[in-house]
Amino acid sequence: MTALRFAAALMLAAGLLSAPAAARPPGPPARWRQPGEPPSPLDLLERLRMMSPEQRELFLDRLPPQRRAKVERHLRNYIDMTDAERARLREQYEVFHQLPPEKQQVFRNLFARFLNQPPARQELMRDEFQRLRQMTPLQRQRRLDSFQFRRRFRPREQEILGRLAMLLP
């Protein structure tokens, strides 16, 4: 009888303890930042997106006019995206952001060289990069070694695309 009472008391205590957890609203599992870990740039962008225009102005005021205009333009593009577009871009950025800083810089330099190509060639290279991105590393290497690829792109373009592809996960 005493054991029965003890078990009942334990069950009551367990119920009381689990009640606050059950009352918690459902939601995605939170990713807790470690103490001292700086906020992700994506977090910063989201905070900036959620700010009022006045608060955003306050933030942008800290930039010199030329840089401010560029940031404002990019930020406007980011804010004006649909949720799906923004989610896709955030995914790509997370992959990019996980690269070591030196590889990120290589990627930026290659992109700068890409921008130096004529617009029509840029279009072709962009399409090719999209295809490469969807391939496995082995498929990617076969594609880069293929006759079609060498025939389609000039040596400088092949180098840019080949090195960009090497940075893909």
Partner: protein, 167 residues
């Protein structure tokens, strides 16, 4: 001699008389007074009877093994460990401790601290302003540049894969 009952020191006078603590002069004076005062005479008679009974009482003799048994009890008490004596002294505290634990449990479950895990957040405008001041503007600028770069590289593929240029 004035009557001790009237003076208010009858207890001291009667005890002194019964125990023989009076001087001969005081005793003679009190006896002369008692010859005339029936109340003092009667009180002195009762007092004498009490003292006579006390004098007649004899304490019972201590048994022969009393000292031995007393020493044994002292020795046994000394051999009991300190924690046994402590345990005994803690016994009354056990129900008090259980009651305190129960109260603490109730406080944890229903106290205000559980329902306010985080301190009250500042108003949204203030928080937003603090965010704006704390955010690393250079990092945001770089992230936006990188995102713009990725966006420019993310145009949907329009040409079938593998189709050679000009073919």
């Amino acid at each position: 001699m004035r009557c001790p009952v009237e003076v208010g020191n009858d207890a001291e006078v009667l005890v002194a008389y019964a125990t023989g603590a009076m001087t001969p002069a005081e005793q003679e004076a009190f006896e002369l007074h008692m010859a005339e005062c029936s109340a003092c005479r009667e009180a002195a008679s009762r007092q004498k009877a009490v003292w006579g009974a006390l004098d007649a009482w004899r304490a019972p003799d201590v048994s022969a093994d009393f000292d031995g048994r007393l020493q044994m009890r002292i020795a046994v008490h000394d051999r009991v460990s300190w924690w046994r004596r402590l345990e005994f002294s803690w016994k009354p505290a056990i129900p008090v401790g259980i009651a305190c634990a129960a109260l603490f449990g109730v406080f944890l479950l229903h106290g205000p601290a559980l329902h306010t895990v985080a301190p009250a957040a500042p108003p949204a405008a203030v928080q937003s302003q603090q965010d704006a001041q704390k955010m690393d503007v250079e990092e945001v600028e770089r992230a936006l540049d990188d995102m713009d770069m990725l966006k420019q590289l993310d145009a949907p593929a329009s040409t079938p894969a593998g189709s050679p240029e000009g073919s």
